[in-house]
Amino acid sequence: MLAFALTGSLYVYSVDIEVDSVRTRTLNTLQVEAKQQQTTRAAMPVQVYSQREIKSLNALTVTDIAKFFSGVSVKDYGGIGGLKTVSVRGMGSNFTGVNYDGVMMSDIQSGQIDLGRFSIENVSEVTLSNGQPDDIFNSARVFASASVLSIKTKFLAYNQTKLHEAKLTLRTGSFGMLNPSFFMAKNAGEKWAFNFSTDMLTADGTYPFLQYYGNKFNLSEVLKRTNSDVKSARTEVNSEYRINSNEKLSLKFNHFISERGLPGVVTFYNTDVSNQRLNDQSLFGQIHYENKTSKKLQHQYFARYNRSYNHFSDKDAKYQGGILNDEFLQQEFYMSSVLKIHLFQTLQLAAATDWWYNNLDKQTNINFRNFAYPTRHTGLANIALKHFSEKLMLSANLLYTLTREHVRVGIAAPDRNKLSPTVSATFKPSADTDFRIRAFYKNIYRLPTFNDLYYQEIGYTNLRPENAHQFNVGFTFSDSNIPFLSILELTTDAYYNRITDKIIAIPRDLFHWSMTNKGLVAIKGLDVNLKASSKISRLGEIRILTNYSYQNAKDMTPDTENYGEQIPLTPQHAGSTSLSLAKKWWELGYNFQFTGVRWVGQLTDSRNKMEAYTTHSVYANFNYKSWELKTELLNVFNTQYEVVKFYPMPRRNFRITAAYNF
């Protein structure tokens, strides 16, 4: 990637204004250039927030960053510990892969990765790729989602003058939040590098909200959100052994534990609705070996073990013994090997094979019988070709997916064998202008989760994978020679997605649902992204990041009353803007988000309408020597809004963060 980026005509990006820069200058220059190239050179739309930009987004977790990507809907049930998942371009959160330092995260039970569990304290970059990342030197699994959210953690580059860095952070704020964290990176000679990061979060999570009993002209009441407390702790250790400059071995170990209340849906006239608790314990360890010694042939290997346990409990007199206890344990063993060959000067070939094994166990005290105890082997093989020149980039890959399932009780899902192709291209008409036209087509399957297939009385083992076709055309423009601006980047993409065999739950009665492949969704959309920053050093650095998304996402499922209607919870219009002004000692910022009208049911009934909302947040940062102080005021105008119906979001709230670097 780096080598490729350097072949192009590069503008010189000023590193001096990178306030948080602690790395050596040469290396930083290369990395920044490579990063800037990603968004405008990529054939598939990619949006990147660097560590520097993340600082200006009023973000607490990776979810808050995802809200600033165009085309993204974050399902946020409110509260500090609540579940937060991401869906991209109207396709459902199971289509979004989460790539954590090169390896895809997985949840075989629900298929959804809770982004709330990733702290931003050790994150250096968050990237959203529609389709897949442009780099073909990736595991096959990276190609197996409709879009990929990549999280890259911080590492300390080798530097003779500074062999370690550390940061101690204490954050506090509304909802009784206390969030201490510690990050340390160390180089032991030229070969070994380590980092360690840990953070803890406690919050009582309560907040007042305004509830209307029906539409907004009705009676209302100010109530208190309860049972939304959280306690969590996350620890990560990374180690890198640099065998030589182009060959390295890295190890990662991550542990996460949390205990939280689930406040549940607001119920009219009844504040005693949720006594549900969720306890999560998950750990994973991964190892990665990479060899880029040869210009002709490069190869890398991944292996990972993942174990996730969760315990859901619900206290209610209706249950035998007054409590429901559901316990789930899932495991994954994963391996991958990737090979890249430079066939000619301008042509690369990459091949990757992945294999992994999943299992799921369940225990419950209520109505427990016939649990399937499913296991699944998944195999992927991917072959990719990429041709590039300054004018033209062409890329194509073919992904083969196979699954083999077994169950201890009942009938297993049938074997699946699928082929899914992707093609993409960028074209640069003029050598003088950094203007590119791009297009891609990607076909991908979303495998049913174990919940879809085996959930008691609901699961349906004959479910086929969901099938998504994505078409995208767009252009990118970047210029660094505009007066007063150090950089301007504009990307605009129009897309059409069609999802067939969509897995939806159809009801058998109010409390019993069954999964089927009935759904059909067609989404026409537009994503616009603009980034600009000033270069008048007298005024400080002014940055603007803005995006707009249009999503016409229609339910085309035949024989339903919702045919032709916008799919639930998906706004037609949404956008955000982030403005910041940085001087040497301080920085001020403003963030704005707009979400248009959404619907939760048929459009002919106004009760199904969810009003549009805007939120405004501001922050001020101060840096003095090794100290940092950040104060944030979120939802400044005290707007009461909902992302999911009857899950009220917090109104005005604040955070204060103090950090010491040493």
Partner: protein
Amino acid sequence: MKTKNLFRVAFVAAVCVSFFSSCDPTDDNNTTPEISTGLFTLNQGEFGKNNASLTYYDFANGFASNYVFEDKNNRGLGDTGQDMIKYGSKIYIAMYKSSLIEVVNAKTGVSIKSIPMKNAQDASSSPRSLVALNGKVYISLYDGHVAKLDTVTLMVEKTITVGPNPEGITIANNKLYVANSGGMQMVMDSTVSVIDLVTFSETKKIKVNVNPGTLKADSYGDVYVVSSGDYGAKPGKFQRIEAGTDKVSDIAVAVKGFDIVGDKAYIYNFEYDANWAVANKTVKIYDVKTEKLLTDNVIAATTLDKTPYGINVDPVSKNIFVGVTDYENNGKMYCFGEDGVLKYTFTTGVNPTKIVFTTNK
């Protein structure tokens, strides 16, 4: 429940008005109807969506008006309207997830009282079904109890323990019969509790098929039970508890739901095909006096749009009302004559289930 704040007027509304809000084409400007002679339909709504509602259908002008409760009371009915009865001049509505009994003036649609149903720990006791006799309304509570509500004071007089997760409740032979479903137990229940109305205490439990739900009594003291089975090896059944002997016998008729008026049980049923699509939607008539099925499908000439969700029969006209649903969108009410000929339909809220008839004469 913070009832003290309940009627606080929404002055905060101004704060929340987004500057992106615009004219809404769906805002219904229906004038609130006068309640005359017609019927109220209870629309159960979706679980967790706070969209239970009342539809008023006027017999004279044939006009159906949704959200009557909300129009008359300036607030929604709440979450999951499970059952509704009319007793005297009042309508009683069991709100399951909101965990309250809504008492409504049958002539105006205006709420008289919302009675929170809470247990000793102040947790939801979750009302399920209602039946009334001699100035009392009896309420089955999903946390394993039956409550007795006085219709004059509108206070709960006494609550007793029955089996787990009671569903249907009915009165026969001066006794209460309560179906213990046990849907939230390790193993589902299969009993009907019998409660003496004088002492208001459980006297015995009758064994029936697993997971009993709806209960109805005929005028001869027989009690009819529909059970859903365990969704596994044991299928649902339609059974009769014989008056006097309490002997349980199976009736070879497939039943999802039913109503009894006079000597007839009006039954709806449907089946699922391999893809969970609904098939074979029928309305049957069963004679509770002779214990014989009179007709296998009285509405054979009509194809119901969606899945049947409730059946109610007008005791005066003997018109058969069948509510249908797709569980998500507004439902529809079909009105058939006693002979099964379709008379009219009207649109209801989500999941139309129960009907009470009202007259202002």
